[in-house]
Structures are given as C-alpha cells and as structure tokens.
C-alpha cells in the first residue's frame, strides 16, 4: 500500500499545472468559476489550445493522435483542469465518438473523422435519448430504412446537449423493426445540414438552453456513414457508455466546488460571524468534505487498478452514484451559503448574457447550478439504473 504518487506522476502534475497557468485564458476560467456558459468560439479556442499541446484527447491512443496516458495520468490531467476552472472538454467528439471509431470504425471513417475531431472541424452531438425512452435506451423508435445507398431516417431525439452548435450528430437508429428490443439498432453519423433535420431548444428549469430536441423527417444519410455492422449498434452504444464513464466520479469538479463553497461561507456573515464558523454549516461542510475524501480514495483505487490493466466493474456504478450525490450536495451547500442572494435570477450564469449580477458575484450562479445539476443523477444511466446494476451483480437475483 502506498497512497503517494510516483515521482513521474508528480512531475507530470507539475507539467499540467504549468501548462494551465501559461495557456488557460483567464477569461475562460473566470466564466467557469462564475458558472457562466462559454460561447461556441470559446469552446473551440480551448480545444485548439489543448490540441496544440497534444492533450485534447486524453483517452485516445498515440496512433490516433492521443497522448497515450494511462488512467492515473488521465486522472491527474482532469483533476488539475477542474481545479484550475478550465472549461470542460466538449465530450461528444473527443470522449464519446472517438473511442467508438477507434474500435468499430472502418479505415476510411477513421482517416476522415478522427483528425477532424482533433482539429475542431466538426462539432459533434449525441443522438441517443428519445422522448419516452430515458434510461431504457433499447426502446428507441427513430427508424432508418435502407433505400439504395442511403438510409432514410425518421424520428426524434432529445436531450441533445449543445446540439445548437453541432454540424454532426451520431445517432442510434432502428434498422430492423422486427428485432427484439436491443437488436436491430444501428449506429449512424449524420450531417446536421441535411434537409429534414430540425433542432429546437429545450429550456430547462434554470433558464438554460443547452439541450435540444432534434427532429428527423425523411433525412437521407449515405450508407458509408454507418459505423460497424448494421443492427449491431447496441454493442457500440454499450461500449461508448463505458468510455463515457471516464472521470465518472467528478472528483476534480467536487474539489473545486467545495473550495467555492468555502469561499462563499468565509465571505457570508451569519449572526455576526463568518458563516463557515457556524457549527451547523461547518458540520454540513465537514460531512461532504469527508465523503469526498473517501470517494476520491475509492476513485484512486479504481484508477490504480485500471492503470494496472484491470477493467473496473461495478465500481463505476458506485462512483457514478456517490460522485453525483456528492456534487449535488456541494451544489446544495453553495445555494444555502449564498442565503437570500441565491434568489435573484442571474441569466448570464447560464446562457452567456451579461447583466450585472445582483449581490455578490459568487451568489449569482449557485441556485441555477443547483437546479441544473439535478441532471447529474438522471443522465448517463440514472442513479436508479446504477443501483440496479450494483444490486444485480452482488445479489444475483
């Protein structure tokens, strides 16, 4: 047993810190710290900066332009980015489609699409969820019918995050209507400029417009945009869901979030003393901090096993549940800490408008973030689905 990072790992951490300190634009980290959304151009700039260093696609193998990091290095990179309030890497191309193409794409697809992801030529979005299909992906209804060298796609996708910026979408579509639930599904790449596609924003409860509905009406998709085999899409989707689980614990985000809460609680006064000295608030804070200490250690245990080549099993589901509960608890603490100033609605916190905030800067985004992050326990396989996976694998009944 040794809880310490190796000398090489510590040196790598210093590299990352230095890189972020030299290259992360203050305007970007400021926005992230204040809970504001980045513009499309800002996202693209950040990707380009990372790509310039070869660090955009941390989970890609060297042969495809990745840095060849192991799990520990990926973790260090993600943690430092979170602590520096770097913008999130938009995951759809880099973290989600990339690994699927590496494993299941043909040579032409790899040659064409992978460099475009790294170079920011395409903005990808994800077409998985459908209205009425939530965590039960196998029940999806969007159809693709082969006609000559095209598929004709009809249907509707939803919860398409940042779809308003995207020019490409990867979709799960039903190609065999007679097959059982999880069979007969295919994995298609679709150009968003194709006639028949309509994107409509979904306004969320915090006022944000980051997710969308995407409608397909007789959309023609060339057959060469099929990834892998027809009717085997479910296999690729499951593979992708596993890869989406990188950084599932969100330790860096939680650590940064906890620091933000402490900053607020030091600034806010309650009964003539800083809120952080109020025993009840301090108790809430201590409990979450200790939960996070434990969860971060579990995360390192899983990462350390992964770096030794062991695939994480049910631990991913455990980290998903505990990690999201902790992040939500931290969001809850932030809104409590802000007190009455959590009430005013700060539209710039989420969609990039720029009214001056009411009350202290730190208070503006907290309530919106609290509500917005209710999604954490819903998406990516809801926490109920994760509990089911954990129970099934243990109880076997």
């Amino acid at each position: 047993m040794d809880l310490n990072y190796s000398a090489e790992e510590l040196a790598f951490r210093e590299d990352v810190k230095q890189f972020l300190s030299d290259n992360l634009p203050a305007a970007f980290s400021d926005k992230v710290r204040k809970g504001q959304s980045l513009t499309k151009a800002e996202h693209e700039d950040w990707h380009a900066i990372l790509n310039g260093r070869g660090w955009l696609a941390g989970n890609w193998p060297v042969e495809h332009g990745g840095p060849g990091w192991n799990a520990v290095e990926r973790h260090i990179f993600e943690e430092e980015c979170a602590l520096a309030f770097a913008p999130r890497i938009v995951p759809f191309g880099v973290s989600m489609l990339g690994p699927v193409l590496h494993k299941f794409g043909n040579d032409a697809q790899k040659a064409h699409w992978l460099p475009r992801i790294l170079n920011g030529d395409d903005w990808w979005c994800q077409g998985y969820s459908e209205p009425g299909a939530g965590s039960d992906l196998a029940s999806l209804k969007t159809k693709a019918v082969r006609e000559g060298d095209h598929y004709i796609v009809n249907g509707q996708k939803t919860w398409t995050t940042l779809g308003q910026h995207a020019n490409m979408i990867f979709c799960l579509v039903r190609t065999d209507p007679d097959a059982k639930a999880q069979e007969g599904i295919s994995f298609l790449l679709i150009d968003m400029d194709t006639p028949g596609i309509e994107v409509r924003p979904i306004i969320l409860l915090d006022g944000s417009a980051e997710v969308n509905e995407v409608w397909f009406t007789d959309v023609k998709v060339p057959v060469e945009n099929l990834v892998g085999e027809e009717n085997k899409g479910w296999t690729y989707a499951k593979y992708l869901l596993t890869h989406e689980r990188t950084n599932i614990a969100g330790v860096g985000f939680s650590t940064a979030g906890l620091e933000s809460v402490k900053r607020i609680a030091r600034a806010e006064m309650a009964g003539g003393r800083p809120l952080i000295e109020n025993p009840h608030f301090a108790a809430r804070l201590a409990k979450v901090e200790i939960d996070l200490m434990a969860m971060a250690t579990t995360n390192l245990r899983v990462i350390s096993k992964a770096a030794q080549g062991q695939a994480p099993g049910v631990e991913s589901s455990m980290l998903k549940v505990k990690g999201t509960v902790i992040r939500q608890d931290i969001n809850d603490l932030a809104r409590r800490a802000a007190g009455p100033y959590a009430l005013p609605f700060a539209s710039e916190a989420v969609d990039g408008m720029n009214e001056p905030p009411v009350g202290p800067d730190y208070a503006a985004p907290v309530a919106a973030q609290y509500f917005n992050n209710r999604k954490l326990s819903i998406y990516g396989g809801s926490n109920e689905v994760q509990r089911q996976i954990i129970a099934k694998s243990t109880l076997g009944v």
Partner: protein, 377 residues
C-alpha cells in the same frame, strides 16, 4: 380539538382552488413570470374580489379573517397552483405592519390593500443581514421633523413594483439590536432612492434599493420611534406561516404530478410506478408530506399565542418545511427523470418555488438554531 376547516374557510378554499385551476396553468404562469412586473394585475384583482386578501386581515382591520388558519388556507391554495403574485409582501408583511402599528391615517391603506388597489413591499433585508431580523444598519436621523434615510436594502421582494415601500431603519443602538429600529412609509419616487429590479428564481421580482439621503416627513414613521421590532417579528412570523403553507401546497402538487407520472410513464415495458424502489420512496415522501401538513397546522394554530410559544412553533415549522421541501423537490425531479428539468413541464416551477422558499425569511438551519435558542431561553 377539531381539524376541520370552518365553513367560511372551506368556501374560500373551494372558490380559490376552482379559480386557480381554471386560470393558472403552466403556460399562463410562465408568461406572467417573464412579464415586465412579474405578476398579473388582472389575476391579482380577481383574487382580491374572491376575498383572498380580505381573509388575511381581522374584522377589526376591515377584513374577515386574519388568523393563522386563514393565512394557511389561502397560501396553501396559492402554493398548490404555483401562484407567483406577491400577495405575501403586500398583504401580510407590509399590510400586516400597517394594520398592527399604523396610525389611523396610515391604516386607511388597508381598505385599498383588501380591494387589491395598491401594492406594497417591505424593504428590510440588507446585504450583510442574511436572515437576522434585528440586523439593520440603514440609518434614520431626524432633524426638525424631517427624517433622512441612508443605507441599502437587498433582495426586497416586490420592491420594484410596489406603490409604497415600508423601509426599516435604525434610530438608535448597535447593528444587531432589536431596540432602535423604526419603520417608515416611503413612496418609491422619493428623491435619493435608487431601485434596481430583477427577476427571482421561482417567480416574482425583487429590488436592490439604495437610500442616499432620502428625506421624508416624520409622519411617515409607522408606529413608535425605535420600537418597531416586536411588530416586525410578529408580522414576519405570520408571513413565515404563509410560506410554510405555500410550500405545503406546492409540495402537494409536486407529489400529485409525480404520482400521476409514475402511473403513466412506462419504462422497460412497465409503468415506472410498479417499480418497488420508487414505490417505497413515494411512500416516504407521502409520510413527509403529512409531516409538513401537520407542522404547518401546528404553527398556524399557535400564531396567536404568546411570543415565545409562537416563535418556537413558527421556527419548528420553517425548519421542517425546508428539510422536507428539499427532499420532495429533489425526489420529484429524480423520479420523473429528464422531463422534470424542462421549463414547460409544470413540476419545474414547483420544484424551484419549494426550494427557493428556503431562502425566504430564514432557512432550515437558521430556524433550527432559533428553535434551539427559544427552547433554551
């Protein structure tokens, strides 16, 4: 012992519930929320005609209610329908203070309030006061029958649209001293007032108000000089019961929506309400909903008791409502899944309203500490 509503309250509940069911759907509410003032004058007027505001004042003050259970009855319905009109600010906080300590001239406003003709706001909270009711640093100095106000008021609900402001200011004492606080009726167009309005999460507007040498006549003082705190605390406790009842009503709707959804929505080929894990969580929420109802009844029933008993029950209620509110709000969203996150689905508003009530007039921890302190006293 009798837990049934009186006939009058039952009638008011029925008519208000019917009115709001017909007039106040999610689309209407969302339009109102995004409107210039954040409330609908038309709805306000119609509610006044139904007797909603009159029910919040005693007969002596020209109303026909005013007791804890009147407040609870009205606000449970407002909460159930997700009403965002700031009746609490006009009728309970500001209106209640005028009725309690106003002179005869000032009390003349109560009739207009009940008729729905005027809107008021209590400008009391300050940037550093958080939930401490006695913390007032805005100053009032009297020179030759003129009072000069200086200071800043923050997150003043309805402060941007009210025709009259009641401003608290300190005439003597330390920042935290209950003694030395006075209240003043200040027209919002008085020179030296800078009022900046913004939208609140969950509906309604609030204002940041800067008072820079605001001159008002001494007659604008409400009640005796420096002795406004007991009335302030009393009216805040009435408003706190109103918030509890509003949250209770909103939680009832959140649960009703959730139960309906669990019955309709299918996943893996079955209604999700047939999944036992969700069933048991629903049972726990229903139990907590009854707890929320009971503590609200209890606080409403003790609103006319002596100060310590009243405040202890009110703090117990606001604490528990905050605790259960978070649970019901978060669990309702979770059991719905994504749909509950969308603005156009009814639950989104209720979930926000319930949680944001925890930020009004003291949150769950604040009231727990207060409950402990009142018990130790």
């Amino acid at each position: 012992m009798d837990f049934n509503l009186t006939e009058e309250r039952q009638m008011l509940q029925d008519s208000l519930r019917r009115f709001l069911r017909d007039k106040y759907d999610t689309e209407t509410r969302n339009k109102i929320i995004d409107s210039e003032t954040g409330f609908s004058g038309e709805i306000w007027q119609e509610m006044a005609e139904l007797g909603v505001i009159g029910a919040l004042f005693s007969e002596d003050d020209g109303g026909f209610g005013g007791a804890g259970f009147d407040i609870a009855t009205v606000f449970e319905e407002l909460g159930r329908a997700g009403v965002v009109e700031p009746i609490l600010d006009t009728a309970l906080l500001a209106g209640g203070l005028i009725a309690e300590i106003g002179n005869d001239t000032q009390k003349g406003m109560v009739e207009q309030i009940i008729a729905g003709e005027i809107h008021l706001a209590l400008a009391h909270g300050e940037p550093g006061s958080r939930y401490d009711l006695s913390r007032v640093t805005t100053t009032a100095s009297e020179v030759d029958g003129t009072i000069v106000l200086n200071g800043r008021k923050s997150v003043v609900s309805n402060g941007g649209t009210a025709g009259h402001l009641i401003v608290s200011a300190r005439e003597t004492g330390d920042a935290q001293d209950p003694d030395g606080i006075s209240l003043f009726l200040v027209p919002p167009d008085t020179q030296g007032l800078l009022i900046t309005s913004s939208q609140l999460i969950g509906g309604g507007h609030s204002a940041e108000i800067i008072l820079d040498d605001v001159h008002i006549p001494a007659e604008a003082r409400l009640g005796p000089k420096g002795k406004a705190f007991p009335a302030l605390e009393h009216q805040v406790s009435r408003a706190t019961v109103a918030l509890c009842a509003e949250a209770l009503g909103a939680m009832e709707t959140a649960m009703a929506l959730t139960i309906e959804y669990l019955g309709q929505r299918k996943q893996f080929g079955r209604p999700i309400g047939s999944f036992q894990a969700l069933q048991h969580r629903t049972a726990d929420l229903l139990i907590e909903l009854e707890q929320a109802r009971s503590i609200t009844i209890l606080a409403a029933g003790h609103l006319q008791d002596a100060r310590d008993i009243r405040e202890r029950h009110v703090s117990a209620a606001k604490h528990l409502i905050g605790r259960i509110g978070r649970q019901i709000s978060e669990e309702s969203i979770q059991m719905h899944g994504g749909i509950a996150m969308t603005q156009e689905y009814a639950l989104a508003h209720f979930a926000k309203r319930i949680v944001m009530i925890d930020h009004k007039l003291g949150d769950t921890d604040h009231h727990m500490e207060r409950f402990i302190a009142l018990g130790a006293a």
